[in-house]
Amino acid sequence: MSEIILETRDLTYLYGKDTPFQKTAVDGVSVSIRRGEFLGVIGHTGSGKSTLIQQFNGLLRPASGQVLLDGKDIWDEPRKIRAVRFRVGMVFQYPEHQLFEETVRQDISFGPRNMELSEEEIAKRVASAAEFTGLKPELLDKSPFELSGGEKRRAAIAGVIAMDPDVLILDEPTAGLDPQGRDQLLDQIVSYHRRRHNTVILVSHSMEDIARVADRALVMNSGKAVMLDRIDRVFSRRAELESMGLRVPQITKIMSLLREKGYPVNAGVLTVDQALDDLIPLLRKRGCIR
């Protein structure tokens, strides 16, 4: 099996083609996503990140260029594009808006049923997906609309996980959640990724979230892919990110500023713990630590 699961080659997408409002949303993007990685996608509003991820499961068709899944162009057989969507699952922003069934169980079953799996397999998938997202079993027979906001979100995510995709894409999954809700959901996604060993792509405006969960980050700017690297390396390029209207996690900025002032600290620090690892030895030398 190749190391690369999903790849784009010179991908271009236009909105409003041949009209006065034509806009190149994705401009000649060539990226390779590694099997099993956790990729963060960042970029300002309008950078093309949402348009790009919708190419990955064939929701949008490129104006030019290719999207390859396991080395095969997903548009080779356009009539079979639906099969791609079972392998590349997408969770949209505010996924709770897509809940519609009479019970949570039926809603989660919707995807697997469309995959024409046996009832036994569907039941297994529902149980497994509910467990992955921390949905209590007693909620399964309730109407989705009786659930709290956070529970609804988990039910919607479970509906995509139940299809057991090889690539799971989440667009701003923590949008609108409070700190505790955000922490729980991110922990669950990380835990799911570790247990399932699939590939996860997370689009987010929160640099702190990306720093916490991703292995690599893809930075989009005005339709182009400008960076694709390990997150510590991406976030150490603070000046470039800021010139694109992006920021780095607050802790990264603090360490980056200290480094610019000449102190021997790591500018690619991503968490408070890492910052303490760097600072404590320095402060101990100056007699500041007990």
Partner: protein, 281 residues
Amino acid sequence: MEYLQADHVTFSYEPDEGDAPKEVLSDVTLGIKKGQFVALLGHNGSGKSTLAKHFNAMLLPSSGKVYVDGMDTSDESLKYEIRRRVGLVLQNPDNQLVASIVEEDVAFGPENLGVPPAEIRRRVDDALKAVDMYEFRTHASYKLSGGQKQRIAIAGIIAMLPDCLVLDEPTAMLDPRGRTEVLGTVQRLNREKGMTVVLITHYMDEAVLADRVVVMDSGRILTDGTPREVFSQVELLKRHSLDVPQATELIYRLKADGCPLPDGVLNEQECVAALELLLKR
């Protein structure tokens, strides 16, 4: 008695059949002065939105009293006057649009108040300028970005000339740029027009902008003070599932290890300055 006054407010929502009523607010007493910018901080379920809705008489206390500019919110005859003074901005920008043209949306409030047409025109223009959306006055409201829509919602309320703006997680559904636009607008309204602002949020980087931060948990007020005073209480906040800025946490943990560092560091600049003093030794 302050401009907005809650006295021993207890509130429970109507329970479903067979369930016991759940108390969402428990004996809350809070006074907000005219012109103050107060952030109401708390996780989901803390009661902060429920409390906010008492300030424009959308909800009435199960026991206790709420007063707006001296008026008792439970007095049915005063409801109109109360709601003229206190405007409420909600989370979802789309749910607050009523017209397809921006200036018509902003005019909706004053029209319903029976304001004369020439006066409506003036108020709409002033309100749009106050939120920096004047050039969009003839644009389609539903085609705007989230941040722009929220600013139109704010304009629609300002056009009714309220004294006070209550905003319930107004940036929760917005991207960073939208958040900056809305918060900037709110700060300007407070500073330049003296508008009383109650900002309900769970983002501490927003709470930091206020004069005063009131932290709620499980229907009660946990702590109340300036941003610096409140965010110094790192242990307390973490115990109640709230965030502190990474800058604050870093300094707090170094202090715990014996480093002589100040309390209440809130942002990167202060953090770097405080650390430099030690690293320069």
